[in-house]
Subunit: 763 residues, 2 copies
């Protein structure tokens, strides 16, 4: 009954906008429907709040499970404290810089500094809330799993759903607030989206810190715990005597929950704001669609997505004695139902707001949804032990660590082909369906819409993704607290389920990153044009750009006053374009090198700390002294924070410096080059890492001699190499690509002005 | 005395052209100096012949060393027989295809099929001769090393010099012959270079087969010999009872000598023909330089390089009791002397042929020489045990195989930054020095010239590079034949020396690959323009391209007859450009995945064969039965040949298919994207592999517990992973990039015509 009530309420909310539109004159296009983002945002946040209360009501188990869970909570808080210190410094520095650029030099809009801060704040908040709930759900999941697999799933899935809802809810909330504020300040509609990209940049910066920091933290703790605890001291995994154990479990929350939350917040918001911006520009040259309408379509799709995701979560339930297979079907039916509902409602939305002549935009959105599913399927195919690639990889472990490493690397490399081809087909289809071959601007908007479409199901796909770490933690707690082995078996089953659904989630994240980065690249092109027009509007500027950006910008002053033509065509053989491509190609490699080495160094610190504790307090190993868990958490945190700064600076400084030195067209080539190499590398790292992980688990379940065999040892080597691949470097590259594009966009006026000064000097 | 005689003779030869030019009117530019390529070619080949005779005169040692050497020779021949069967099929197939396209459909020049064949033939011949000499020098080097380090060096270095001279000599010979033939057929001067690019394509195809095949062969034999011989049967390395031992030693010759020879032949010829082609085009729009002059400059620089390399080799000598350090100084002084001499003589060449206004071209050449040295230095820095990166990597072995793998991957990734920045600066400098900002065509020619400059010292740098595998083989023979351990020590010292100089050689190969690929990309741009002009010259073709290549080619018919404008500007945000970039970015990954997996599969076959022999003939392990070496060689060969076809087809088919489906501009983006990701990946793979190799050797010399320690075992894992990186996939990527560009160039008319048909259908 409760479900039916909820569903009815939600449908009611959802159809208000559609009815409102229909009542209005659709073609006049002036009805401000942006209030529906409030509906989506509040619905998601209220739903998340109700779910959180219901989780907190559950029994957290006995003293032991409660204590372990508390340690993990404390560790997570300790991590956040340290992380926020560094991040705050970074944000304050950039905030002041933005203040100077906006109010002092008048190069940026006065809203930019504040938009930047809110993006970072909400991204961090999404991660924080997700972590708050997941660290409180772990013991409860373990305890619920005592009853049945289904009970365990309900708690863990609720926790994942909170995460999903918080991410989309806060995303829409930030959009809603800024829409309101900028309207109050009477900013013209078409100027709003570019300001919003600044909060995308804030969100991306925070996401990069969270992913890098979280990834370094969790892998340092993991490696440290294993090397000293398991190998040197000879105590089993997840043993409470190991000072790094808690840090290890904290890491799951810090990396896989908080990091992923901030990351997907950034993806979600990034795709929406980039598409809004492209829509605003496209509408200027198109009859039949207003800027407001073009801006509303992506947020409306997102809102529909939120509501349908909420409805979808109600379908995820099963009988008490349900098997793993039944549960997987339940999870999938929730996602599929939401997807179909979103597709149907979006059709109505577009049909009744901008009319049937723009239904191609709906087509672009469907392309995104399908492409996300294809990439997700092949992510699973390449990394799941149920398919040949990972099974063959497990076979490679029979001839030792070298062959499994070579096998995993080549698996990851070959797994890049299908996602890239899928994205390529998606780009072409989204562009042409939405009418890009007649109006290129509309085609680029269509590419953005397909990214929004791909992420429209985020509320529920993230739920199926984020419950995995909770189940993982629950298993650790069950082990440490000495619960019935049956409980551990059940949490393991949940974890495996989580791996399968997480693969799909990763596919969506990767695919949308490529499309969003493209949309941002397109928006960057628009910004350059705007900035050059602005520069030339000043009659005292007399440079004829053509001489300097040879073949890049064709500008001629008619009688020294009017601008005749600004052409955005690029001579791909101009050396300034070529060097941009080369530098762009190398950036993801340099970035990954930094983040991988960071994991190594932080792990080294952890090894020293654990050794120190064992040496100074001999009672720890005997079980009479309590190890100093917080010290290990602090070490891992400190290491993570120290190491995450350099790669982040690389991402932010590279486009600015190149832009100032060589001008905006080299930056376009830089972004294109980094996209060409980074996108592929991100897929490779994610899939190599995932396959090694699952090959190891496959062997642990008994294949090739099981735990302790030589094959297993080889597989552990593969898994350890894969850890920084899949949890640190790989996902960070996706953020890197988008962050670089956003930085380029935000700093366009600065780069153009300074680059013009350099050109004047060299004349 | 002999030296002085030689030097005088050579200087005499060398100055003829300069005097001839000076006598002529330099500005008229019609003096055909192309005959000097005959001088360079014959000088190199005669010198190689004399050296070969002197090597064959040396004592090949006792019965044992002779026998082992003979086995290696037989194995190498067995390999070649098999390889040429497959390659011949491939070449015949393409030859027939070219015949149809040239004579049947009149789409290509009638010389294309024959040029293609000669390129492949000479590339293969260079590898064959190099291998012929190296397999005859190995035992002789071992025997000479009995006397002193210096005597060993002299034999090995002579063998390397033969290789260097054969590569440059045959390169210039092919150029000379075709110049003669095409002049006989009265082909206009400016149409000659594009035909010559076809023999570049032949050479590249052969090089790709040789590198892939050789790389797969040697690594399969290596892994197979180790896994069954060392680990399962427990016999030491290089033990004659191991059936795969000979295959292992054959592999060194097949991969590191024949493969490298074909590879560098391709680089050398590729850079020259690409630059000739760019020169011919550039001269059309430039006053003061004729097509003939522009074509002659790169070949003259190459010829000067050959002569100076010959002179340089005479400086490589030392006293009988010279230490390793003194020998390194001797090697280096030879290279440096040649470099300086080339720089000085090229100055005179350019000053007195095209005049001082074009001295910027000389600047571009110097840029190439310097850039090559910088990249070479940093290749050594990152991969030599004398510097911190590899020392730190060796430290990582203390915590097991996982950390040394992570460390090696991140070392390789971070080592890409400096080479890329060096190439970027070289591109900008070469372009601007040669006047590209006024005449872009001249700037692109300058980029080509810098590649030619970088490779002008190839005669001697390849000598210092190619003697390494000979020393390596000599060590193996010394071990197998039970020579005095002092001999092994000396050959090891030579091998180490070789590693150091080989690092520099690799730097030149990598840097020149990037620059040559760029030059080819530029030439591709020229060819498209030409093909479109040709297409439009046919008045029956009425398509206005603008509608289809939106924003790509601006063509308008004036009154339906004249072409108003062909603009080569590209809209980087056009989806057809974006998909080209993405597909280009993924190609090197897909290609590497294939070649790495190929090594794994071929190694598996070898394991089975060795096991079979041990099982069927129990006398082998007792030393009473002779193992069937040839069977192992055949297995490795067969595996190599089977596995090298698919990646090669990928390289050739990708640009053709994309060109037919999406048109030539998508191909430009494809080439640019693959260059952006492939160049970086090639450096990473080469340096990761090199560092792992040297970290292992560093440990074997006693660090971290030496041979047999856990650290050593971990380092062996790193080395095994690095093997396909540095000897199969990495160097093949360099060839891949150039081959794809050459295929695109050669197939331009085919792609444009078929793509136009598709466009007509979809209208």
């Amino acid at each position: 009954m409760k479900k039916i009530f909820f569903s009815t309420m939600i449908f009611f909310f959802l159809f208000i906008p559609l009815f409102a539109v229909h009542a209005d004159d659709a073609s006049s296009g002036d009805s401000d429907l942006m209030w529906i983002t409030w509906v989506g945002s509040i619905a998601a946040l209220v739903f998340a709040f109700i779910l959180t209360l219901s989780i907190l009501k559950k029994d957290a188990g006995n003293e032991k499970t409660k204590e372990i869970s508390r340690h993990i909570q404390e560790g997570a808080i300790a991590y956040l404290k340290q992380q926020y210190k560094i991040v705050a410094l970074f944000f304050i520095f950039l905030f002041i810089l933005f203040l100077i650029l906006s109010f002092g030099l008048k190069l940026l809009s006065p809203f930019v500094p504040f938009a930047f801060i809110t993006g970072g704040f909400f991204s961090g908040l999404a991660g924080y809330i997700g972590m708050f709930v997941s660290t409180r759900s772990n013991a409860r999941t373990a305890w619920a799993a005592k009853t049945s697999l289904n009970s365990g799933l309900r708690v863990a899935f609720s926790s994942g759903t909170v995460m999903g809802m918080v991410v989309v809810g806060l995303g829409l909330l930030d959009l809603s607030i800024w829409w309101l504020v900028l309207n109050l300040f009477k900013v013209p509609v078409e100027e709003i989206p570019p300001i919003m990209i600044t909060f995308g940049m804030g969100a991306s910066s925070m996401a990069l810190f969270a992913r890098l920091g979280g990834g370094i933290f969790t892998k340092a703790a993991d490696v440290g715990a294993d090397l000293v605890g398991k190998i040197e001291a000879g105590i089993p995994e997840d043993d409470p005597r190991n000072p790094a154990t808690i840090a290890d479990n904290v890491g799951d929350n810090v990396g896989d929950v908080a990091g992923m939350g901030a990351d997907l917040y950034e993806s979600y918001v990034g795709s929406i704001v980039a598409t809004m911006a492209l829509g605003a520009i496209a509408s200027l040259r198109l009859p039949g669609i207003s800027a407001l309408q073009a801006i509303q379509i992506p947020v409306s799709i997102a809102t529909i997505g939120v509501i349908c995701s909420i409805i979808g979560t109600f379908l995820v339930h099963a009988k008490k004695d349900a098997t793993q297979k039944v549960l997987l079907r339940a999870l999938r039916s929730g996602v599929y139902f939401s997807t179909i509902l979103i597709a149907a409602l979006s059709f109505l939305l577009i049909r009744f707001t901008v009319g049937s002549e723009f239904l191609g935009i709906w087509g672009a959105m469907i392309v995104g949804l399908i492409a996300g599913n294809i990439i997700g399927y092949f992510t699973e195919y390449y990394t799941s032990e149920h398919y040949n690639p990972t099974k063959n990889l497990a076979n490679e472990s029979l001839t030792g660590p070298a062959t499994i490493i070579i096998g995993g690397l080549s698996l990851g490399m070959s797994s890049t082909l299908i996602p890239v081809i899928t994205v390529v087909i998606a780009i072409l289809s989204a562009f042409s369906l939405s009418g890009g071959f007649a109006y290129p601007g509309l085609g680029l908007y269509g590419i953005g819409i397909s990214a929004v479409g791909m992420l429209s199901t985020l509320g529920i796909t993230l739920a199926t993704d984020a419950y995995g770490p909770v189940a993982d933690n629950a298993g650790g707690i069950a082990e440490m607290a000495g619960l019935d082995p049956e409980v551990r078996k059940r949490t393991d089953a949940l974890d495996t389920l989580g791996n399968t659904t997480a693969a799909t989630g990763k596919g969506f994240a990767i695919g949308s990153a490529a499309l969003t980065a493209l949309a941002l690249l397109a928006e960057y092109g628009n910004k350059i044009k705007e900035a050059v027009e602005h520069l030339f509007a000043d009659p005292s500027v007399s440079v004829v750009f053509e001489n300097f950006y040879a073949g890049l910008i064709h500008i001629a002053r008619d009688g020294g006053q009017t601008i005749q033509e600004i052409s955005m065509k690029i001579d791909i053989l101009d050396p300034r374009i070529l060097i941009g491509l080369f530098l762009g190609g190398v950036l993801p490699f340099a970035f990954s090198a930094m983040s991988m080495r960071a994991v190594g160094r932080a792990a080294g610190d952890m090894v020293k700390e654990v050794r120190r504790q064992f040496k100074e307090k001999s009672g720890i190993l005997k079980g009479t002294d309590r190890p100093d868990y917080a010290a290990c958490v602090a070490i891992s945190t400190k290491g993570a924070q120290r190491e995450m700064v350099a790669p982040s600076l690389l991402a932010i400084m590279a486009p600015i410096l190149i832009g100032i030195l060589f001008g905006p067209f080299t930056v376009i080539a830089l972004l294109a080059g980094s996209l060409a190499s980074g996108f592929v590398m991100a897929i490779m790292m994610a899939n190599s890492g995932g396959a090694w992980d699952n090959a190891k688990k496959y062997i642990e379940r008994g294949a090739h001699g099981g735990k302790g065999s030589d094959a297993h040892k080889a597989a552990v080597v593969g898994d350890t190499v894969g850890d920084p691949f899949k949890d640190t470097s790989g996902p960070s590259i996706n953020i890197l690509l988008k962050l670089m594009a956003m930085v380029s966009i935000v700093f366009v006026p600065v780069c153009i002005t300074l680059n013009n000064m350099i050109i004047q000097i060299f004349r």
